[in-house]
């Protein structure tokens, strides 16, 4: 076999580098385009009035998304209340008892839950809560979102607590501090920023979820604070306005998209900052 000449090899190498850079740039274009389009078309709609007023009757111009913002915050609140304590307890268990049959099955369950399509989780919440109560409620939506958030909190807590240096724990135990106090006073405070970051990542994942809300929280054009009534939410508002034939509603969907993207990205960025600043300490 004849060796290819060095010029030829360098040429192939150059072409390869060129192709990689070109394709990677091509991948970035649509991604940037989406962000640019959303902000370009949505920022014109944003105003104080848009954020604080309720939707007007169909055909009337104006109106806002206050119901959706309140609803989204409520759903996030319910989901966090349900998922965070359970997730942290399971995460602490997994980091303390690393090898047991229960730990194995819990990890398996977390893996399954993490990969479960959101629409399937919606079906579950629908079967458990909507069917049995006979109506759409914020509670059922919050529960669906809690199931989506749970694996992130469990995994995040476990990973972060595993990183806490063993000598801290041993020092505490050597001083005669009981195990539970060691966990509560030494291990969890050390890992707290990591746990907070896991919770925030969970919030940023569920804030934009739409599919499970279609048949649980359902949507509501009015302000509603009761967890036992249907509520509106930002992603549902975007969806219904997007599918409507009215141009001013479509414009409002861009505005709601900007609000939702900001909410998701800001929680995501805060989560990342919290975790990187914490890592430096060890």
């Amino acid at each position: 076999m004849r060796e290819p000449s060095i010029q030829r090899r360098l040429l192939v190498n150059g072409l390869f580098r060129f192709a990689i850079c070109g394709l990677a740039a091509a991948a970035l274009v649509p991604l940037f385009l989406i962000l640019a389009d959303v902000f370009r078309k949505g920022s014109g709609v944003l105003s104080w009035d848009f954020l604080t007023s309720l939707p007007k009757a169909t055909g009337e111009s104006g109106g806002g998304i206050a119901n959706a913002i309140v609803g989204t915050l409520m759903l996030i609140g319910i989901a966090s209340l349900l998922a965070v304590p359970l997730g942290i307890a399971a995460g602490v268990y997994l980091s303390e008892v690393r090898k047991s049959r229960l730990a194995y099955f819990t990890r398996l369950a977390v893996d399954i839950l993490q990969g479960m399509p959101s629409v399937v989780i919606g079906i579950i919440a629908y079967l458990w809560l909507v069917r049995s109560m006979g109506r759409f409620t914020a509670l059922s939506g919050g529960m669906a979102l809690a199931l989506m958030m749970l694996p992130l909190v469990v995994r995040g807590t476990e990973e972060v607590l595993k990183l806490v240096p063993a000598h801290l724990k041993e020092a505490s135990l050597a001083l005669g501090v009981p195990h539970y106090r060691t966990v509560l006073r030494v291990i969890i405070p050390c890992g707290l920023p990591g746990i907070i970051s896991a919770v925030l990542l969970g919030v940023s994942r569920i804030a934009g979820e739409t599919a499970p809300l279609l048949f649980t929280a359902f949507g509501n054009r009015f302000l509603e604070f009761s967890p036992l009534k249907p509520v509106g939410s930002l992603p549902l508002t975007i969806f219904t306005y997007a599918m409507s034939p009215y141009e001013d509603l479509q414009a409002q969907a861009w505005g709601a998209s900007v609000v939702l993207i900001l909410l998701v990205l800001v929680t995501n960025i805060i989560a990342r900052i919290v975790i990187t600043r914490w890592k430096i300490q060890f």
Binding site: N13, L23, A89, A90, G115, S118, I123, L214, Q250
Partner: protein, 298 residues
């Protein structure tokens, strides 16, 4: 001592509860799907009729729709996401530009799917419609009917492709970073060019991990709901061409569950959900298994 025991009990209960939830979820799906599976048997998966009016339900159109859109999206996005992974994991390691791109890709992966769907509806659909208008006469001369809907299989695959680029790219990048530096340096010390190192050292080493990343992205594409629902056209028939409309398993559930009136209709939708759940779980497990095996090796 009592507090210690209480504390242990709480932790254990937490771990148990997570497992119990998943178990009950699976049982609920089976239980909810049971009436439909009993009524239609295995034919549920093969029948092409989905008609809520006559209460006939077969899931084949949605299986086909899901598989076509997901695989097409994978095919479209693969060259782009692998190039991105190679750029960030090999060519541009470290440095502010690399960090900037990395965090941009991660952030874009967090953009909600309903926004991808809306963008697809407002920006991609008109483009695809124009393309279809141009292709219409060409199609006619081949005896093919192309209707300029704009929405359909092609549009959903494009939106899905854009959505899974960040996923595949970031998993593949992590896998590429696992390739031991001494192997690569051995290649360079023989005078290999970068392309030759990539081709004969990095790719063979990382092949199974990249495959796993692709599987995980496939899992995401299969279960993706909103973006697809908004641009696929929502017709309950087997799609006849790339430009035709259709429905996926996820999108038919999203469309019909809240409005299902007869119990068999609603049970059939749950059965579709059960199938979707099984498929994505198997694919995700294959993906995570390969990645875990690879990280242990490295």
């Amino acid at each position: 001592m009592q507090r210690e025991r209480l504390f242990q009990w709480v932790l254990k209960a937490g771990a148990w509860l997570v497992g119990v939830h998943v178990l009950v979820i699976s049982l609920t799906l089976v239980w909810g799907a049971f009436p439909a599976l009993k009524a239609f048997g295995a034919g549920f998966l093969w029948s092409t009729h989905w008609n809520p009016v006559t209460d006939e339900f077969g899931a084949l159109p949605f299986l086909v729709g899901t598989l076509i859109t997901s695989f097409l999206a994978l095919l479209l996005s693969l060259p782009l996401s692998l190039a991105m992974a190679l750029l960030l994991g090999e060519f541009l390691r470290g440095g502010w530009l690399s960090n900037f791109f990395k965090s941009m890709v991660d952030l874009i992966a967090a953009v909600p799917s309903v926004i991808f769907g809306y963008w697809g509806l407002m920006v991609l659909v008109p483009l695809v419609r124009e393309l279809e208008m141009k292709l219409m006469p060409v199609g006619q001369s081949f005896g093919m009917e192309i209707l300029p809907y704009g929405v359909g299989i092609l549009t959903s695959s494009l939106v899905l492709a854009v959505m899974i680029i960040p996923n595949t790219a970031s998993i593949a990048r992590e896998v590429l970073e696992l390739v031991p530096a001494d192997l690569k340096e051995a290649g360079y010390s023989f005078g290999a060019t970068r392309y030759e190192v990539v081709r004969s050292v990095i790719v063979p080493y990382a092949r199974s991990g990249i495959f796993a990343g692709v599987l995980l992205s496939l899992g995401r594409a299969l279960g993706e709901t909103m973006a697809v629902t908004m641009v696929i056209g929502n017709t309950n028939e087997i799609p006849t061409s790339l430009f035709g409309t259709g429905n996926t398993m996820a999108s038919v559930i999203a469309n019909e569950l809240a409005e299902a009136t007869t119990s068999i209709h609603y049970s059939s939708l749950v059965a579709v959900g059960l199938v979707l759940f099984l498929v994505t779980t198997v694919i995700n497990f294959a993906g995570t298994y390969i990645i875990k095996k690879m990280s242990v090796q490295a």
